[in-house]
């Protein structure tokens, strides 16, 4: 039986943890060990905006220890992920390089959406349990040291995901200078959350009923519930409130004793507990699920899935597409045109993918780009390219890395803007040559597909795409006047040919 021993390292704001897994096709994921070491990297980043040398040295020591753990279990693959403490540090590139040289470990600095997606994957690793839970309106609340991510599910689909920059450690840092002025620290925290949560509620919960909440993503989520219940347990709202009362009435010293942590760490737990209570009240949640999982579970699950060891029971790509669709609808995209664009672009992609060495992931990026291709029109009809670019770059799309988001934003931008040569694009859009080439390929496909419905009138009733030697033959079935589309098509042919070395030929087929 093929067994892979994989290590997932999670470099968080106040903890660095490693979990070693055994992955097999037969039994999926099995955790062999999980270890944590406290290191308040976030303390540096959230106040100094950089990671100090002292903390970096501490991290080096920890990671060298983790290397030993990896050796003890014969680990054959690993992924080390850093989150907001690295992401927001000005010296993150230097820090990553320092760690690589000192330990040999390459750190992957996750974008927020990647991080949340992995967190979300970790819950989905619970399989049917998760599928069943999200049938009803469900919020996944992922509290980290730097921020909180709230993702809403309805009818088995992701509705939206939002990031609130109010992580437990960040809140503690923010209130630390004046917390002594009050005896009701919890009230202070509650007031800080109130504004954010009510905005969120107003925008996303107008017509939605959220009955379930899943609390994940952080070591403390498990910690604060450890004495109350077994991990991976469902709780009712009443049970939670009872626990909350006990929690808030206990002194920090008692809590530290009860939970086996330092008093300093207790101050990180309080904001978290207040937030949970606030959300449970505001969303009128009935059931609370504590799956007892962490980012490392998601990282391992992701590895297993990507390497064909684990077959996902949940379609994660569907969630990414759903997020894009919801975003398109928020910016009043033309739904019919977009659907046609997605269809046409997909067909062209499938024909050229092999020769152009494009991956299924590239197809997903193209699909998301198609859904968002005209979102900028919501802001300005004149400057669509830049507006679309800016909207995409400032919106989180769960499951996409920063790089992928940048690719999508550029594809959308250059769908209408003039695509210049690499040097000019790279300077303004931070693309490397590979990404630039991908952007060019996806833009060429999108432009071609887009002009097939240039009038936004869905004249095209059918489309077939075939490759014949040096030609890409697109046969459109339509009974309508297709003059405008033909004209625009001709304008895009050269660019496509330049990219794919295939001359697009448009052929018409009468439907009647």
């Amino acid at each position: 039986m093929a067994v892979t021993v994989f290590a997932a390292i999670d470099i968080g704001s106040y903890n660095v943890s490693i979990e070693v897994f055994e992955l097999t096709k037969k039994s999926g994921l099995r955790s062999l060990t999980r270890v944590r070491k406290a290191l308040e990297l976030g303390k540096d980043t959230f106040s100094l905006k950089k990671i100090s040398m002292e903390r970096l040295e501490e991290l080096t020591d920890i990671l060298n220890d983790y290397k030993r753990i990896m050796k003890e279990f014969g680990v054959t693959a690993y992924r080390a992920c850093a989150k907001s403490a690295f992401r927001e540090a000005k010296n993150r590139y230097l820090a990553v390089d320092h760690i690589r040289r000192a330990t040999g470990i390459t750190i992957d600095v996750l974008s927020n959406s990647e991080q949340r997606f992995l967190g979300y994957k970790s819950i989905a690793s619970r399989g049917e349990e998760f599928q069943k839970f999200i049938e009803k309106g469900t919020a996944i609340v992922d509290v980290g040291g730097g921020s909180i991510q709230i993702s809403l599910f309805d009818n088995d689909s992701l509705v939206t995901t939002q990031n609130l920059v109010l992580g437990s450690l960040r809140v503690r840092q923010r209130l630390s200078s004046f917390e002594r002025e009050t005896t009701h620290y919890d009230v202070l925290v509650e007031q800080l959350f109130r504004k954010e949560i009510s905005s969120f509620k107003r925008m996303y919960l107008k017509n939605r009923s959220i009955v379930n909440i899943i609390l994940v993503g952080d070591y403390f989520t498990n910690l604060i519930f450890q004495n109350k219940s077994d991990l991976n347990k469902l709780e009712t709202r009443e049970e939670f409130m009872k626990w909350y009362d006990h929690f808030m009435k206990s002194s920090p010293a008692d809590l530290a004793e009860e939970l086996g942590i330092s008093s300093d760490m207790v101050s990180v737990l309080i904001p978290m507990a207040v937030l949970y209570r606030k959300l449970i009240e505001e969303l009128h949640v009935e059931m609370i699920w504590l799956p007892g999982i962490q980012l490392t579970d998601g990282v391992a699950y992701d590895y297993g899935e990507k390497n064909g060891i684990i077959r996902a029971s949940h379609d994660f790509e569907k969630d990414i597409v759903m997020s894009a669709k919801n975003m398109a609808s928020r910016y009043s995209s033309n739904k019919a045109h977009t659907e046609m664009l997605v269809m046409a672009a997909g067909k062209i992609f499938d024909v050229v993918k092999k020769s152009a060495e494009l991956s299924p992931r590239d197809r997903l990026l193209l699909e998301v780009a198609c859904y968002l291709h005209d979102c900028g029109k919501y802001i300005s009809l004149v400057n669509v390219a830049d507006c679309s670019y800016n909207i995409i770059m400032s919106t989180e799309i769960i499951g996409l890395s920063d790089r992928e988001r940048r690719i999508i934003a550029n594809v959308v931008k250059y769908n209408t803007a003039e695509l210049t040569y690499y040097r000019d694009v790279a300077e303004s859009d931070l693309l490397d040559t590979d990404d630039y080439m991908l952007v060019c390929q996806l833009v060429a496909i999108m432009r071609l597909a887009n002009c097939l419905d240039q009038s936004y009138m869905q004249k095209m009733k059918s489309l077939s795409v075939v490759k014949k030697e040096k030609e890409l033959i697109l046969t459109v079935g339509s009974d309508d006047d297709y003059t405008l589309e033909r004209g625009i098509f001709r304008e895009n042919v050269d660019f496509f040919e330049e990219i794919f070395d295939l001359r697009p030929i448009l052929k018409m087929k009468k439907k009647r």
Binding site: V3, V5, S31, L32, T33, K37, E72, F73, L231, E257
Partner: protein
Amino acid sequence: MASKINEKESVKTAGAKTGKPGKSGEPDYGAPSNFCNRELSWLLFDRRCLSEARDRQIVPLFERLKFLSITASNLDEFFMVRIASLKDQVHAGYKGVDIAGMTPEQQLQALSVKVHEFVHEQYNTYSRMLVPALGKAGLVVLQDATNLTDEQSAYLDQYFERSVYPVLTPMALDSSRPFPLVRNKTLNIGALISPKDGSEELVKKGKKKDGLEFATVQVPSVLPRIVELPRMADGRRAVILLEEVIRRYIGTLFQHYDVICTAAYRIERNADLTLDEEEAEDLLVEIQKQLKKRQWGEVIRLEVEENIDKRLLKILRKEFGTGEDDIYFAGGPLDLTFCMKLYGLDGFDEYKTPKYTPAPVPEFMNAPDVFAAIRKQNILVHHPYMSFDPVVDFVRQAAVDPDVLAIKQTLYRVSGNSPIIAALAKAADNGKQVCVLVELKARFDEENNIAWAKMLEKAGCHVIYGLLGLKVHSKITMVVRREEEGIRRYVHLGTGNYNDSTARLYTDCGLFTCDAAIGEDATAVFNMLSGYSEPDRWNKLIVAPIWMKKRFLAMIRREEEFAKAGREAFIRAKMNSLCDPVIIKALYEASHYGVKIELLVRGICCLKVGIPGISENISVRSIVGNFLEHSRIFWFHNDGDDEFYMGSADWMPRNLDKRVEIVFPVEDERLKKEVAHILNTEFEDNVKAHILQPDGSYQKIDKRGKVLVNSQEQFCVEAWARVPKLPTPLEERRFTPAEPVAEEEEP
């Protein structure tokens, strides 16, 4: 947190003066009168050992010598640690009371009386019982070197000149030579000497009013304490103690003096290490420094010969700053631990218990390797009845097994030439990840452990020196192995140290398992010991200091609830010592509600039996036998779903609050029966068991008319009975017919 609150309460109630019922009408379980002082209780344990030395009915003569020696070494340690600690408290002005309501000063006073009585009894046993009996058995222990045969004298003259004299360092005191450092536990001979007439120069140098000077010479520890002499005239063997040999020739050491009087003396110093672990940059270096200081510790006890010259005693008292209560007059040779050497003399086999050879463990006998055997089933080992070899083999085989990735082990006390240490070093050499926690703070083994730690580090092992503020007392070994089905962890959990020497003398239990849940816990234990976070939860192991006390209390209370509900409820537990006030209170409460509690406590027991309404359902017994009872086993009836646990922890505050200890469950029904059998047999023991009485004393069981049950002897027999008989050569001879030759077909 709950345990902490309870403890605070218990301290408060322990300090209360009466044991009147509380508001709820329940008895005041925590009243000081309900507890024995732990030091006095310890002394009762040493007395039980002494009773073995005095038991001529059952205990063979030379075994009695062994017990007497044990009482002496026990007492030494008791002074260096416990009495020293009480003295420290008195010096610090501490007036708090213990669970029995006694201040440190009161404890010292009470102990002084009891210990003086005890020492008197030790020497009675030696001089009046053992020496005469030895003489009858054919071994004469000469009290001094005055009445020797010519042959013996000649032998001693030569022995002294060749072997003893070269290693002696006599030291005289004068203004230029201050009182020398007298090392802890060394035996010395003090002398008053007077310059001989005509040695005017010397008179001038060290002149005193009476012309007497003090001189001292250490009895060299490099030489055997017992010197065997040529036989007596009647043919019996004869021995003399080294200090008597030196005394005979002491005049030769101070040639320009007359020796006025001599007396042997010995001191014990405060041996408690005062470590500031928070401040220590390197624990190993800090402990090394402290060990040196141990030689200068306060003198806690001065032992002198009964008939010591008063002037000599005065000098010693002054130099060592000893109070009157701390002087112990010996009615025989000082430091009775030499009795162990007498025991070790060749011959006299009829006066010794035949040496027991541990039985092989059947489960490992026909298995291709230890791992295959463990994969087949969980294996319980009961030492010393069963061999300790599987434990050594576990590490040895892991060291050379190509599939083994890592070996992790905790070491508290190891033997002098430990095969386990050698195997660990070999494993590191073979490229395995070897992580060893060597507890540098293991009392009196600090130096030994420092040496091991350095050696293991040199061999490439990752050595951890224990945890800040906690002693790691748990006994656990884990082997991580890569197998076809994936990573598998093999774990050995024990109640005793990884010490192949003591494993022949101490009764301990161990469990070999590859249970995945225990493997996961074992990894978590080592992670925790390496300074990482503890896990969110433990699957099966119960770990001190954070979780263990709570669990034990919960299990005791669970029995109480069953008793309250009118169901059968009982607890049977075996341990070395019982003195945790919170646990004792919980036991009292459980007993009050009808839980039957049977305890086997070898040593200290602060619990009192037979207190009306409080401990009438509790019985306590202590087995003091040939082997040192050392295992800790806990049995909770749990309404018929009996739970068994074993581990390294006693029910003492130090084990539950200040140490890393592991208690593990025994879950297989087959093994549960074995553990129940161990406990049941020990509760049936009527030969070596002493029963705690309501007045705090211990009494042996009246054996008249009863079938004698000596649990240790029974386990020896049973261990060998389990071993499958190897086929005899005759049985092995089998007739195997040759292949029938095919008959050629007729043409």
